[in-house]
Symmetry: D2
């Protein structure tokens, strides 16, 4: 089997030297201040080995990656009732598209586009104060990562609160169809804040372990979610995790993943590893440019594509 630690180190080294770094997201003012030179990579395999390199301990804004955790939490709370509020098909549209909502009576296509994640957040919030719901989400992420130091970056949350007009449009639009139960400002408040959770690659890879391990938290040995649900979240990550770049990511990387506009990507090699990468420069589809390239390298080298079946020995990296 290929040497994981060596692979991680070499890939991080190669990425540090590249000059094509994409564009740092500017639509959330606070995010625009991050250096495009940052690059981090961390992998936790199912035996508990951790391989990490580069800026793997620098916290960054996980943004849409939080949608994976809120989906997991909401499924645990309301079960398959969730699917009455949100679909599970690729949207074929950008992350913040509103067109699809008009044609489908306010039901978002899947939980990983903004509208879908707002609907999921609304389900978590139900019957609670925003502060309580947010506390529950943060505790859940800390539990998954086994790290109580994870916090929310209030400056980023405030920045989005001030400028998130399109998300506000999406939420009001769904509200007009009765898809949201709570006051729009409450739901959006929780949404903006869980998107502003700051984590390092290491913390993120640790938090994702349950999806590589049949729904179990390896630190505690306790189930986070049923095995079938873990598989299904992986399936949705693969088909919908990168907005209208999901097909491309499946084609190139071949693993379930979820990207965030902060430049992070969480990737799951089912039964093998949980992987987190971070590089703030984005490609045209809004996904981390170097992040995707690094993942393509890593998957190929380790033979981890879900479409390969097993390590492809003898294929050159």
């Amino acid at each position: 089997m290929p040497n994981l630690e060596l692979a991680v180190r070499e890939i991080a080294g190669e990425m540090r030297l590249r000059t094509d770094r994409g564009q740092v997201a500017s639509y959330i003012p606070e995010l625009a201040r991050v250096s495009p030179q940052a690059f981090g990579l961390a992998v936790v395999d199912v035996e508990g080995n951790v391989a990490a390199a580069g800026d793997c301990d620098a916290p960054f804004s996980i943004q849409s990656i939080s949608k994976v955790f809120t989906l997991t939490l909401a499924l645990g709370k309301v079960g398959d009732r969730l699917w009455a509020r949100v679909g599970r098909e690729p949207s074929g549209s950008p992350f913040n598209s509103i067109v699809q909502l008009e044609n489908e009576r306010g039901i978002p296509r899947n939980p990983f586009i903004n509208a879908g994640a707002i609907a999921v957040t609304d389900l978590i919030l139900s019957g609670h104060q925003p502060r309580e719901a947010l506390g529950e989400i943060l505790r859940f992420v800390r539990y998954l990562a086994g790290d109580q130091t994870i916090t929310i970056d209030d400056a980023v949350a405030a920045s989005e609160q001030r400028t998130g007009f399109r998300n506000r449009a999406l939420a009001n639009y769904m509200k007009s169809f009765g898809v949201l139960d709570n006051p729009v400002d409450f739901t959006l408040g929780v949404y903006f804040h869980h998107c502003a959770i700051a984590m390092s690659c290491r913390q993120l890879a640790l938090a994702g372990r349950y999806l590589a391990q049949f729904g179990n938290n390896p630190s505690t040995g306790l189930p986070v979610i049923q095995p079938e649900r873990a598989r299904r979240i992986n399936a949705i990550m693969l088909t919908c995790g990168h907005y209208d770049g999901s097909g491309e990511f499946a084609y190139r990387v071949g693993l379930p993943g979820k990207s965030g506009v902060g430049g992070g990507i969480l990737v799951i090699a089912p039964g093998k590893a949980s992987i987190a990468v971070w590089s703030p420069g984005l490609d045209k589809a809004g996904n981390s440019h170097l992040g995707r390239i690094a993942l393509e390298r890593l998957t190929k080298r380790m033979g981890w594509s879900v479409f390969a079946g097993q390590p492809i020995i003898g294929e050159r990296p």
Copy 2:
């Protein structure tokens, strides 16, 4: 490891008894004449074992499943130039939607919707007579299945020629953007005929082996296609193989698959098996109703979901 033969036999038995059978496709008149009672299932694993049950040797119209074989053939002929004519993102639209073409200058979203498969057919045709191109496709399918008896059902092809107005619209539309090189009638002639290839579940499962086996034809030991390309075709099957029901199929079955309106589905468990199922009644998304249920049963029982990582021992079927 679960007993494959027993699983196949039991699932086929269960399916034979079910009364919910979906609706047989009526839009191609010739297809409407098939009995909804038919059910066949065949699995070929990577060790060459074949398990088959029900109407597993009755030929049926493979229809859109042929898109997998034409994509493979075209990639072999023109390589990645193919991707200048067709994308690889889920469309989020029905199989015969034309809206997306208008918004994206005539480039189909992926090779598994009708427009995309017509564009791929046009690439195979280039510089040849329709008869030659069709001969090449048929020889290729026979080679993959290791079976020289496979033929085209001319009555089905003629039926589509007469009534395929929407495909004719799609082809002319792409032609208006310069996406097709050949005369529309030539390209459509080849397209309608390769959709009318008739195969049994057994033949189809045999033909799909190369996708489960890193691109190799196990009968000959020769490569059909590079391992990386086989992986990538699997990726596209997973994200795009069931039109606007692709997300649902990934969520429930968790394997790359391609369905046809004749009621067949070809499914790949990478590194494990090639699977073909047939039941003519379709669900609302145009995919075989019992076929999908049977596959869900089989994958779960065998632990073959690409999102599981390995057989999930102890989980009940």
Copy 3:
């Protein structure tokens, strides 16, 4: 020339007896409380004659008809700069569609769909407090009608404030493209309130006179707006005044008009008369059912279609 007073009386009489009355709008709760039996009609010709019948003096919520007055006011304030914020093409979509905004960078198709009227309201508001802008609009309408008793129905405005999620979505969406200058809540506050102006048919017909009289207010003899602008507002009313029922209205009635969800319609026979009709029951396109029928009768009888050229003598009503 046909007798106007007789025509108005007879048409009102006929309408009172009809039992097909459409559906009273329910999406603004306060509007749902109006009786579907109400019917009013008032005509003011260019010589100053007033013919009115039925509930012609009962105030009703003018709703979208206010868009005619705010467009006039905004053109007077900012001139043709207005057209950088809003187009003047029919939308081919329902009044509250958001799809078109996504495809055209947040610029509404015309000032008579909700998004367009919100953008126009934002221009009137610019640099003022909502209360001041609203005061200016109300004074303008009173001046046009020559009636200082016209007021805003605060219960209706409050009802929309509470439930107007879709308008809030439209406004936030435009804001995300930079099409609105002011805080969304300010602009919407003014918008909801000017939609809640209550007027009778008589007041409304008087207020519309300037559009029938080359831009002049006949009470004062002073120009409200340049003749060319009056003509052009009429043109936009004809092509865009009834959302996706504009073509039908032009086809049947043949006059510029603007309908409101309160059941009112303001119609202009250029050079001849200003007409207001009110009947709260709406047809499927959201326009007053009996209102349109009454107008069709009246125009035909008076020979007022702009497409006829002159009274068509000898044609039977």
Copy 4:
């Protein structure tokens, strides 16, 4: 009253000198060969006076203007049954858009977009050979113009037959919904040929007289169509006659009109005059650039806008 002959002469003179001439249509190869320097203008008033200037006797390809004549002919043949096949709302889309058809079950929005005109042509064809239907259309146009020399430009028709892929897409698409009765090639054959009718401005203005004169052919004194239908065709010309530039034309010119990609525009001043202008250079919306400017000048000078009510004496051109 302003002097018509002087106005026509002066406007033609001004247009000849302008250097902004738009782009000659290139998508039909044969049309691309016309000189952009051509400019013709002809007006026939209801008293029978003809004022003409520039290249007013040079024949050009009337293209989509033929849709006015085929609509008239079809209404005469099948009456209001026609409206089961085609709507009468502005489309808000380009002339050759197919998106709207998908969303509305193959029913075109109005008879003046390509899809709508193809559906109307199919109704005229019904039960006849293409040659007979085409003969009937040509005889009708000759009768309206009172000129037996009008012919079809076969080179233009053949050019469209070869390259009209998008129209072929539209026709097949409607056929798939059952909106066309005849074989697609028959209907398109007639369509391409009536679009290729060649007429001069003088002939075209003469042919349009019935729409300015309550449906009567002034040469014969006989009705072409009922007065109400003439009014209604004018209404559709105003709301739909210039594709997604219809609102702009109504706003600027204020008269019903129908443009063709050959650079011609037929315009009706109801009760006053029939006007034809020709200049081959098109604006971005596909309408004659100088043609529209000339019409704007002429209408303003003559006070002919339907939105003015009467000549606006004293307003400067």
